[in-house]
């Protein structure tokens, strides 16, 4: 659907992963992953702050 294949043939193929030929595609995936690491930590901080308030 996203035309993410970097190869048109298996003959002599090397980097075969999705978006291997697209720096933009790789960058988008990379930054999405980064956001997915940060957001849960923010949520965790918020939940812990609330727990501190609830248990005073």
């Amino acid at each position: 659907m996203f035309n993410s294949s970097p190869i048109t043939s298996w003959e002599g193929a090397e980097a075969i992963f999705t978006y291997a030929d697209s720096p933009l595609g790789m960058a988008v995936c990379f930054w999405i992953m980064t956001a997915m690491l940060i957001v849960p930590l923010v949520v965790s901080y918020q939940a812990e702050e609330q727990a501190e308030v609830d248990h005073q």
Partner: protein
């Protein structure tokens, strides 16, 4: 070097290669047994004290019954039914239990280790049902259902979609490298069919339809068990690659497409992490956080050979969100899935198949190691494959459990459930330390 010496050297190298591969698959199979150690801890921990031994016994018996039945007919079905419901005697000959290669044979270093690996795949498939039905299913009926799932149903689906000649592969380009569909979707929807007829645990639902949370007796045991399952997955995934003896050699995926073990390792680790973090982010529940590892691996499994690792992480993260949400929806439908097996394996399995259609569409086809031309990966093939997996899992699970229910042999009586399923066994899980609830 003379031509004779060259030939001798080639034969010696081939012999060494065979031995190394035999060692590789032997240890993959051994590591896969950790999946069952994990399932054992996971399901016992998720049970209340009075049911914990029965849950463990059920799990061990499924493992034990699966091995001989897979030898009797499971391997045969996988090898020979790739055309649909038609038996292929050429392939089938290799799986007949009376075949010369189905036992110690000095001319064959491959059949035993591949049979062993597939037997453990079958055991895993059957164990997925096990957790969903704890605390109320009758032991013998469970074993029969597990054998049908692990030694018949799964094998049929694997022959269609996880075999170099399978009709889903060669006709539609279905791609399911590490079994999101043929193991997880099949077993998840088989479990759903059984759960509909089995009914909920006593006290799970109130008269108004709202659900109560029934907590297992040891969450630490459950979480540790889940981590053991993750360890076992690395054996499972290792056994999903094959070695190409053709020109150039090298590893291939289950269909004969080129790959490397490194590809699988990159993406498996990323998927485990993505699933855990995704589940933690949406639930902050330790049970679901660790189940998230399974959600993640199952969501990314179908394309583990091809993902860009951060994309594998993102797909697994989405699976980590999807699993608990789906479990909640299934509970709202009045279905009591004690460990969320339908959501984790069934729903995330379907997501994994569709994710391949969304993100991997367009990868070129190749000639499978059985000589068939495999079409390029495409969304239509993945949707058809997902629908086939859902139906192939659900229909036999529902029909068989409906028959068992009509015969009155599916569900334990209320008295036994109230006193504990362990009351039917010798032994007590915690004789002094913990009072039974």
């Amino acid at each position: 070097m003379t031509p004779e010496e060259m030939q001798a050297a080639i034969e010696a190298l081939q012999g060494l290669s065979n031995t190394n591969l035999e060692i590789f698959y032997y240890w993959c199979t051994a590591i896969m047994i950790l999946i069952h150690a994990g399932f054992l801890m996971y399901e016992m921990g998720a049970s209340r004290v009075k049911h914990s031994l029965a849950s463990g016994t059920k799990n061990i018996l499924a493992f034990a019954f699966m091995i001989p039945t897979f030898y009797m007919f499971g391997w045969l079905i996988y090898l020979s039914m790739w055309q649909g419901f038609t038996y292929d005697p050429v392939w089938g000959e290799f799986g007949l239990p009376m075949s010369a290669i189905m036992g110690p044979n000095m001319a064959d270093q491959a059949t035993g280790v591949f049979w062993g690996a597939f037997t453990l795949f079958a055991c895993t498939t059957a164990s997925i049902l096990s957790g969903a039905v704890i605390e109320r299913i009758r032991m013998a009926s469970f074993v029969v259902l597990a054998v049908i799932l692990g030694s018949v149903v799964w094998n049929l689906a694997a022959s269609w979609g996880w075999h170099p000649a399978g009709w889903l592969v060669t006709n539609y380009g279905y791609h399911d490298a590490v079994a999101s569909g043929v193991v997880h979707t099949i077993s998840g929807f088989f479990a759903l069919g059984v759960l509909i007829n089995l009914g909920p645990r006593i006290g799970k639902f109130n008269a108004d339809g709202s659900a109560n949370q029934i907590r297992g007796h040891s969450l630490p045991m459950t979480i540790t068990g889940l981590m053991l399952i993750v360890v076992g997955f690395f054996g499972f995934i290792g056994a999903c690659v094959l070695y190409n003896y053709g020109v150039g050699g090298g590893w291939t995926n289950i269909y004969g497409g080129p790959t490397t073990l490194s590809a699988y390792l990159f993406n498996t680790l990323m998927a485990v992490a993505g699933g855990i973090i995704g589940c933690y982010a949406c639930t902050r529940d330790p049970f679901w956080m660790m189940s998230g590892a399974l959600c993640g691996v199952i969501s990314a499994a179908a394309g583990l050979d091809l993902w860009y690792p951060p994309l594998a992480f993102a797909i697994a993260f989405a699976g980590g969100y999807l699993g608990p949400w789906a479990a909640k929806q299934i509970e709202k439908m009045g279905i009591d899935d004690a460990v969320g097996a339908v959501a984790v394996h069934g729903v995330c399995g379907v997501w994994g198949l569709l994710a391949v259609g969304i993100f991997l569409g367009g990868y070129p086809g190749f000639s499978s190691w059985d000589g068939f031309d495999v079409p390029s990966i495409n969304m239509k093939g993945q949707v058809i494959g997902a629908a086939v997996m859902v139906a192939t899992g659900f229909i036999p699970g529902y029909v068989l459990s409906w028959i068992f229910n009509k015969l009155g042999v599916l569900r334990a009586g209320d008295g036994v459930q109230r006193d504990g399923m362990d009351s039917e066994l010798e032994g007590v899980a915690y004789p002094e330390e913990i009072r039974s609830q």
